[in-house]
Symmetry: C2
Subunit: 491 residues, 2 copies
């Protein structure tokens, strides 16, 4: 197709890396591990943000903004939290540069050393709970339902565009509640919001569940998650929602007066999704020809390419196309008419396939004569000729049908990649041959989990919420187990 893209079947990882760059989503920067999100990629992220932000507001949350920097002592206040983040954080130690006295250039001014080092936030629980102490006095101040859109930094050693970067963009919700039950309900609600977004906007089926103790967020009592399956059979954690109990309230001394006048610690949650979702979006739907975008998140939903020789023909086509563009825009459909004279139609077709534009219209002299358009859908690459007076309806149908179809396709793939096994041999064999999620019994210990991870690189992705009670025995140790959990190799 002239896109010079690796094939998924040959090198999935290479295909992904090439596609992200060639489709103008993102690229590596001159700063180790930090990416540049290019305009086309950022436009998709903006659509994700807008949909999520609406869902957060509809569930009563407000946005706010907290400092980028976290004093080292704050991070240390919650023991498991600092344990989880200290090993990979960017540390600000000075606040000034100066000219070296030996003329060798600009150096850090040793006299401008901070009294206390500042950590670039890897997540904001500590700075936010330090603030909540001032905001919460009484039950009247609860619940406090806040979200922040921000950049965060985790000093990852091995990075990949969108999937694992030193700096990434995300949202982090931080809520405070008067009761344990309310906090748990909030954490569950936000997991459901994420699942709703993943399935209805990203067209990406997910499995909801809870994490095992060793996979929990640093400082959480329970981590709810949504897990998706990529086309190479590896899982991807697409969003997490944490029930934090009173850990942060105790670490930052946040108490409230109950209706009865008693002083109690506040109950907390936090939840987040990040630009990692961009990687999940690419890997769920795209093919060897390029991106396949769900219409609800596509920056350009419809592109119209004129096929012409000479200016007269172009003018006739442009005149025909103008009212259609207007009509589509009035319906809130994002449409681009690409009449550039610097590129040929074949080049444009390739480009929009690569960029995953859901619907492509082409119009040439024969279409002018017959009063038709050639309409192509990106997901199946099917083309058909559509009469002018049916084209708007056809486009509306296609935008809905593509959204439905790629979800269905991803769901079929996922369903054919969940395997139940009862022995460790079977487990290893499925991992090797088919990949995907493996449903198996496990004895509930960290030791066995660790042993499986070392032996196979597979981890427990979640204990599915819908898992039924089922008596069984651990595939590794033979010890009793009361339900199956989902394993997979994961991003």
């Amino acid at each position: 197709m002239g896109k010079n893209l690796s094939k998924r079947s040959e090198d999935y990882s290479k295909w992904y890396n090439e596609l992200v760059v060639k489709a103008d989503l993102a690229e590596n920067s001159g700063v180790r591990g930090c990416m540049v999100i290019k305009p086309y990629g950022y436009a998709i992220w903006e659509k994700m943000q807008a949909a999520l932000d609406r869902m957060f507001k509809d569930t009563g949350h407000e946005n706010a903004y907290f400092p980028l920097f976290i004093p080292k002592s704050y991070l240390s206040k919650e023991a498991s939290h600092v344990e989880g983040f200290a090993k990979e954080c960017a540390v600000v130690t000075h606040y000034r540069l100066k000219n070296a006295e030996d003329g060798s250039g600009i150096i850090v001014d040793p006299e401008a050393k901070l009294e206390e080092e500042l950590i670039v936030r890897p997540t904001s629980e500590t700075i936010i709970w330090d603030t909540y102490r001032k905001w919460i006095q009484s039950y009247r101040d609860l619940p406090l339902l806040i979200n922040q859109w921000a950049n965060v930094v985790r000093w990852e050693m091995r990075t990949r565009l969108f999937l694992r970067t030193a700096e990434f963009l995300w949202q982090e919700g931080h809520t405070a509640h008067a009761t344990e039950a309310e906090a748990v309900a909030e954490a569950e609600q936000m997991m459901n919001v994420y699942a709703d977004f993943a399935e209805n906007f990203m067209a990406m089926p997910v499995i909801k569940g809870t994490k095992t103790e060793s996979e929990r967020f640093a400082g959480a009592l329970e981590t709810y998650c949504i897990e998706a399956l990529m086309q190479d059979g590896k899982a991807l954690q697409a969003g997490t929602s944490h029930y934090l109990g009173q850990n942060f309230a105790k670490a930052f001394d946040v108490m409230f007066a109950t209706k009865e006048g008693k002083q109690e610690y506040v109950w907390a949650t936090s939840w987040g999704v990040s630009t990692r979702l961009m990687g999940a979006l690419v890997m769920t739907h795209s093919d060897d020809n390029g991106l396949v975008l769900p219409p609800k998140l596509a920056p350009i939903q419809v592109v119209i390419v004129p096929i012409y020789k000479g200016l007269d023909q172009l003018n006739a086509i442009s005149e025909k196309v103008a009212p259609l563009v207007k009509q589509l825009r009035a319906k809130g459909i994002s449409v681009k008419y690409d009449d550039r004279d610097t590129q040929k139609p074949g080049f444009k077709f390739n480009e929009y396939e690569l960029k995953g534009v859901p619907v492509r219209l082409a119009i040439g002299q024969r279409d002018l004569d017959n009063n038709t358009y050639e309409v192509a859908r990106r997901d199946t690459l099917q083309k058909e000729t559509v009469p002018n007076d049916e084209v708007v309806l056809k486009i509306e149908f296609l935008l809905e049908d593509i959204q439905r179809n790629i979800y269905r396709k991803a769901l079929d793939f996922r369903e054919s990649h969940v395997t139940s096994v009862d022995t460790y041999e079977e487990f290893k064999s499925v991992l090797k041959n088919n990949g995907g999620f493996i449903s198996a019994h496990w004895d509930g210990t960290v030791e066995t989990e660790e042993k499986i991870k070392e032996g196979t690189k597979a981890t427990i992705r979640c204990i599915p919420l819908e898992a039924k009670e089922e008596k069984g025995s651990c595939m590794v140790t033979g010890k009793p187990s009361s339900r199956r959990v989902l394993f997979a190799r994961a991003y």
Copy 2:
């Protein structure tokens, strides 16, 4: 009024600091110089962002995202640029913490020292132009019109909420052009976009002009600005747009092939506004009773307060109010019905005055009997009784009228605070007694500008675009001058 707010006439600065905190806009955090933007303040900022983002997109710009960190060597590549920012920047030197071996707690791991220090971006010209080198090869790649919404850090020693903070939120546009004329036109266009936004959304009149050489952005050949006047007679720079010539293209080696096949350096602009605008908004309109917000940026445009005794009366009022709320929302008007039973009406009136809600409706038993509402406008505090069937029209009128009225009021204030003077004595006297902008002749030298600044704390805010040629002599040195410039003390 029970708000316990300082009076502007007594201590303007104290009034501002108190108001920002009491109206729930922002507060200081535990991190030196970094603020927390609270939900109500952030909601105003979101409205500003939405309006600006729309204007940027309407003028052909796209959003993207570049790294938070800038390698020290990048900053050094443009000489005047590093000079301008090196003295106040946050420097990341390490990437890990660890437990101290003596058990004294968490310390910076000396073995995790970065080879090259990273600067937390004070502005992104360098990292962006390092990227543009890869994006720009030919005239076909130009113009490149990009904007970024981001946080930046400048290590200010004396900070004030919104006006001067170590970390702030902003947008920064960075464009690349094939010709000097096009770049200059872009810089001028964006100054005009900012002026349009300031006047039509913030209801804040501004003077457009250019900066003198010593007030220019570090690395710019020309800085266009919009200057506003606060109620205490001090000026505030509300937005800047820079024509950067080929400085950054040369520093980062960004060349393009012209249509004729020649290699030339690219021409650049950058432009930005920040959360500083929040401070300008507060100081332009607000009064001793609290915030006064322009309806176009008010998170809550209309609040309805029921005045009742007992649940039966409240229910009757709520039933009456429900269709009105629905009708207003259908018109895109943001309305809140505050039926909290934990606070009295007087408390609520105070709260919404403090928070600058443009229109307040009250409804009690007498209004129920008479089929009326009491309607109060925040800008003039005038109240009137309005029949139910006229209330929607009245609200629509008020939202427009308040927007117009506060602009007019601010403009009247500004116009009565521009004074022309011809001697330095007069200049000092006006500064002392009236403040505001002072229009005077200046000999065009940095020395005289510096002398005036040292003697009076007044700086040249701008050379107004509309300044007419006028022969005169410098008020300080008597040397010839061809036009008046605008001086003021400034934030």
